[in-house]
Amino acid sequence: MTADRPGPADRPAPPLLEVWELSVRFGFGVSALGAVNGVDFRLELGETLCLLGESGSGKTVTMRALIRLLPPTAQITGRIVLDGIDVMALDDDGIQALRGTKVSMIFQDPLTALDPVFTIGSQIAETIVCHTGLSYSAARARALEFLEMVQIPSARRRLDAYPHELSGGLRQLAMIALALSCRPKLLLADEPTTALDATVQIQILLLLRELQRELGMATIFVTHDLSVACEIADRVAVMYAGRFVETGTIAEVIDSPRHPHTIGLFGSTVHAGTHDGLLTPIPGAPPDPSDMPPGCAFAPRCPRVAPACNERIPELTEFAPGRQARCPRITES
């Protein structure tokens, strides 16, 4: 856990976001289930971190916990410092003010994330009025500016369109415009391209990359798709059962995945080269959160399991500068 946190000497300015020992549990008392079990990371302005994992690995919960966007049954513990603000110490008004201004989020399904009874223009303008205090007409002008920035065709006409009148790709663009309308420093993106067609997906990914460069914000991008991470990420954190199991830059992780789970994900992914023969999937299924293995959560599915793996949860250790993996056998090979 301390390995995640380089000494204060090597970085003079504090990073935009620092997270220590973040855990999220759902439910009450002894029956509470851990969705996220101790996650530490830091993020600089202009950087994109990809949280990569399968469903149930805790990637979305981790991201939502950063702005405490979780149901009241969730118990969030740990420390989150965003741009000098201690997120865990904020009261309800404070967190409300933080969302949308410093941090905003885009979701997988724009049709459920947008309000069906208001036009795109009024939803964006409302957000701007609420957070900046501009007049409604000025906010509407700014809404148009942002729709143009995300390259929505005939943006002026779309201001008065309702979400159901737009195609999936345009809706996602409208949601990105809404999220960026108060110029956040951190953008949280929860699988924003998963529901889209390949031709639209690449348009959105390219746009997000361009906007990030233009606006200089940091992005946390949740995805289950390695190839999406390849297009957008600077750094990757692979998650399994609520913990980081491997971190590194995207090139490092793609070139030499070290954790058996990451290697398994590669074997399972059909990419342009695979045509003949069979895939090498990971056997079995992810563990039940109410019945976690005592040691490494991946041990029951791991091809390299050793007796030590079942005894206690391995530490996330740094085996090369900026590269971490949670596997006791990582140093052997």
Binding site: I202, L226, S268
Partner: protein, 368 residues
């Protein structure tokens, strides 16, 4: 008893399929000029406001033992085509032939007989299972409907569950909510296989699964196909998965077939600009060689008022006036008659400036 022996007979027939060399090339399933328009009501007194041209004149055939991949963006009509194939919806026009016999035609076979031979697996593994049926009940239901005795149907269900990698001792009595997504999809596959079909239609069957589970199910599908000699129609929006499983691939755009051909040829040298854009929009898995510009802009136009002529012309980088006037027909790409595409730029004498000039002057024009 009677129907039970009929089942075994059918099973013997389907297993004998791949070794029966004489029938190799005959199409198992073929469709001709299939058309389905959905009516949009809501006008005055429920008058039609228009028609969604979901499938508009689609023809293709699937040979015995092959996997035909169907790709296209959402809204292009791939799922409607799948539903038409198994007659979940009735086509407005066109014919479906199973072994050369018209389905629901004057001298053909009944829809019921079609569904004995053709089965379907859907995308949403949860919605397509009855929540009040256990896995064994679900799988044996089709057999019981065919008149197989209950105990025998249940035995057969257990065999099939075992066959798709679910231990019947553990899973036979589980309800859908007690199964994971991958296990549910295995039950769906088992249900489809229970009555010994010869053709499986897989409509985005692996799309909603996690990568590691998707790989398990894909391996299972390939294994089943090899063991039972099945024929697949594999519908997916994932171009990599289609390339991995298919022998031939069919590309759809706004209800029309724009290209059909052997998978490697289509992926390497596509004839239609839409296919090229689709293939170029696959992500590279290489963070050092990221895509710099989107291969095609915008979304699919509305299928209610599709563009005139070639339906892709509004997004096409090489569209010309002729594309708005005439609808392109499927024509051979290069000299391979198995690989066809519907693009004016491919068809000789179409009036498109990139069209190949027939015979004598081909060499000078091919550079364009």
């Amino acid at each position: 008893m009677n129907s039970a022996s009929a089942t075994t007979e059918r099973s013997a027939r389907s297993r004998a399929g791949p070794w029966n060399a004489g029938e190799e090339d005959r199409p198992v399933l073929s469709v001709h000029e299939l058309k389905k328009y959905f009516r949009l009501s809501g006008g005055l007194f429920g008058a039609a406001r228009g028609y969604v041209q979901a499938v508009d004149g689609v023809s293709f055939s699937v040979s015995k033992g092959e996997t035909l991949g169907v790709v296209g963006e959402s809204g292009c009509g791939k799922s409607t085509t799948a539903r038409l194939l198994i007659r979940l919806i009735k086509p407005d026009q066109g014919r479906i032939l199973l072994d050369g016999q018209d389905v629901d035609g004057p001298n053909g076979i009944s829809v019921r007989a079609l569904r004995h031979q053709v089965q379907m697996v859907f995308q949403d593994s949860y919605a397509s299972l009855n929540p009040r049926h256990t896995a064994a009940e679900e799988v044996s239901f089709g057999l019981s409907a065919q008149g197989v005795a209950r105990a025998e149907a249940r035995n057969r269900a257990k065999q099939v569950l075992d066959f798709v990698g679910l231990d019947p001792g553990v899973f036979a009595d589980r309800y859908p909510h007690e199964l994971s997504g991958g296990q549910r999809q295995r039950v769906n596959i088992a249900r489809a296989l229970a009555i010994n079909p010869r053709v499986l239609i897989l409509d985005e069957a692996v799309s909603s699964l996690d990568k590691s589970v998707e790989a398990q199910v894909l391996n299972l599908l390939i294994d089943i196909k090899n063991r039972l000699g099945l024929t697949y129609v594999f519908i997916s929006h994932d171009l990599n998965v289609v390339q991995f499983v298919s022998d031939r691939v069919l590309v759809m755009y706004l209800g029309k077939v724009v290209e059909i051909g052997p998978v490697e040829k289509v992926y390497r040298s596509a004839g239609h600009p839409y296919t090229r854009a689709l293939i170029a929009s696959r992500l590279s898995m290489n963070p050092r060689r990221r895509i710099a510009a989107p291969p095609v802009m915008g979304d699919l136009p509305s299928p209610i008022n599709p563009p005139s002529g070639c339906r892709f012309r509004t997004r096409c980088p090489i569209a010309e006036p002729v594309c708005a006037e005439n609808e392109p027909l499927l024509a051979a790409v290069g000299d391979d008659s198995l690989h066809v595409a519907a693009c004016h730029a491919m068809a000789p004498r179409s009036g498109h400036s990139l069209a190949p000039v027939p015979m004598s002057r081909t060499a000078s024009a091919s550079g364009a």
